[in-house]
Symmetry: C2
Subunit: 471 residues, 2 copies
Amino acid sequence: MKAHVGKDDLITALREIVGPSGMLEGDDVQARYPGYFMDRIAATVIVRPASTEEVSRVMALCNEHGQAVVTQGGMSGWVRGTQTEPDDLILSLERMHAIEEIDPVNRTVTVQAGVILQTLQEAVERFQLVFPLDLGGRGSCQLGGNASTNAGGLRVIRYGMMRQLVLGVEAVMADGTVVSSLNKMIKNNAGYDIKQLFLGTEGTLGIVTRLVLRLYEQPLSSNSCMVALTDFTKVADFLRFMDRSLGGMLSAFEVLDRDFYTINTAAGRHRPPLDGSYPYFVLLESLGYDQERDAQHFENILNHALEQGLIEDAVLPRSEAERESLWAIREDLEHILTDIKPFQAFDVSLPIGTMEAYMAEVRTLVSSRWPSSKICFLGHVGDGNLHIAIGSGSDRSADIRAVEECVYQPLQSVGGSVSAEHGIGLEKKDFLQISRSATEIDLMRRLKTTLDPKSILNPGKVFDITGEGVR
Amino acid sequence: MKAHVGKDDLITALREIVGPSGMLEGDDVQARYPGYFMDRIAATVIVRPASTEEVSRVMALCNEHGQAVVTQGGMSGWVRGTQTEPDDLILSLERMHAIEEIDPVNRTVTVQAGVILQTLQEAVERFQLVFPLDLGGRGSCQLGGNASTNAGGLRVIRYGMMRQLVLGVEAVMADGTVVSSLNKMIKNNAGYDIKQLFLGTEGTLGIVTRLVLRLYEQPLSSNSCMVALTDFTKVADFLRFMDRSLGGMLSAFEVLDRDFYTINTAAGRHRPPLDGSYPYFVLLESLGYDQERDAQHFENILNHALEQGLIEDAVLPRSEAERESLWAIREDLEHILTDIKPFQAFDVSLPIGTMEAYMAEVRTLVSSRWPSSKICFLGHVGDGNLHIAIGSGSDRSADIRAVEECVYQPLQSVGGSVSAEHGIGLEKKDFLQISRSATEIDLMRRLKTTLDPKSILNPGKVFDITGEGVR
């Protein structure tokens, strides 16, 4: 690495490319939000190119100098995928925030990478279209980051993850080469699907500068409910029953376990809509085409589910306010963060049939070691995704690590993933080999060394490149 | 290439790996179906391993010998992606045809690559599940081929292409390395999505040996209709209207132009359900949850579309026989093949808003050069996909080529693709650069040379590797 050699010259040259307003240094860098689980920004310079061409010139120069580059988006990631070292250069695409084209006939939108998710969501509304990706960070996360991390969120069961929503990508590679693969079609089998190299690879193979995204028709109806169930087998059966009965309209299927429900419906918090003694609660959403018809059908099939004994109780909101208060029980993480200490959050996925035994195993491993620990589960079960919050009561680093092992180790035998949607970053790097074989990781390394031979793009994230002079 | 050096020794060694029943030679090879647009099988040996381990050993040996290997599946491809040279070795996975696990709770199935699509479709029915990929070759195509070519077909608008339906892949690389990435979850962001290397790359980066596929709930209702429209703008508006009004249930949206409709409804062929003077016809399918409710809703919204002047006429089948005869007008290619000579078929995609002008341009280019030519269009318009049949009247190779240029050249300015779903193979290799930039193709080459340095996997397909000793 030559990062420290001629750094001043490099900075000067970069300033010539992006102009004075394109550079942030010193206090301007330190004043910025460092991201979850990161105390401070270690790097001292942020380069903010205003065009793809500037990104290309910046990268060509950095590659020549062996300068490590960490691309930062809205900083809403949970795995320290954007953490920096003092010598790193931060690249931000925040000045590239144009929505370049909304094509309502083709139902696509072309955006620069710095566009904020919520801005896009709002911009397409007037065409009676939706961009269906939705997640907690919507107000700050950028679409380039969403693409680079293959973001998921609340409606994956219906619309898929970012990988399914991105039709085309423009990216800048380590050496400054611009790869323009801005396809606008749902079907395109003309050669390798190059864009896959830049989706979900966390900025390690290229910098996403532009995207073509798929839009969907705005739903004309929305129905939600919360139900209570007596065991996990019924949760899985109820998922199938509702998915079949809703014929394509199911858009969210969120499972809350009793512990999660109890924390959020304790006295003085959210009003409990259902008796809190059941082991599982499901919050479900259906998006359809006709409010009256769909509401009636929704109620009918819930009655069927009650009659068949699939579910024990159900509550249907009768107003928007009631709907919001139901969803607040799932979305409010404030009390979880208060009650579960030290807060450790996990985002795993595994086959649905193995979930119940897995949850029991994690509970046993954790509670046997830390008898006063707290644990709760929240799952996008329709996608095989469980979020787990654990507070062992100890913030010793050995205990933090041991809790991680309790969560990750049991995934290996069931073919589970240590990261369903958050990615690997630095946070989960040590556990990647639980979900991925040595052969797979070796293949990732081969891609990395082929496309970024000096390892300057977000080095050290996801996995280590062994070898001299590179992280 | 050392393919001719010690070939006999290689064959002997391969026979030791796969056993006598694993090898086909001479007449046994020549007796097999050579595939569309291919007169004969040029290669003389077919190796048929019975396990992934055998595939691995075969490949390790072939790699050592620099022996070119062409993997063949059900031979239903349309782009000569499985064509062989005399010195090539054919690899067939037809003996690996086990459906290894159907997991109705997780709604996944694990199959070996040689399983025939229709066999799988039928096997999952008893679990009230469907594998939604469907295409004309269902009775012969193999899932390994479907994955390697990212097959699409009739219901892409609802369920996506093979890329969206494959959750996990096991593949054997050029040097025999087995990459097992048999993920069963919808969400998995643990590192790079390795399986993308083997999806849609036409057997040039690895041999797919096993797949985990996503299953969907069996629809409980089906409604179809055929409508007539006066112009293409209305076709696009009608697509949006129906997609919105059907709230997730739209499963097929096929456009037939007047020429296609006229050929198939001529006297003595299919009975015309609608007046044949309209320029466009749409055949539409909706899969839902309740036959009675959905049929009523379907009829209501079609009436709305008529009242709004979106469509001019509509016919709703009142029986399964009527439904089948409607679909036969679209699916029957026999008369198209009879009337359009010499038959040249195309499979392009382009943004919907550019389709009308594109169709007009192709018509003009073709008819001005070959005044007695015939041309018709059939589109999965919901996916941006047009199939075009052209008969210029001349089978001179210069004319064949000139017709191809008339179809492909106008795609460049609208960002269209020379292959929506059929792939590139040999057939479209010369036109790849119309849809892909030099940078993209260079990136494809870098992946190829990294993962298959001797270029033994389906060499010469999709693009050429420049350099000595390799195709």
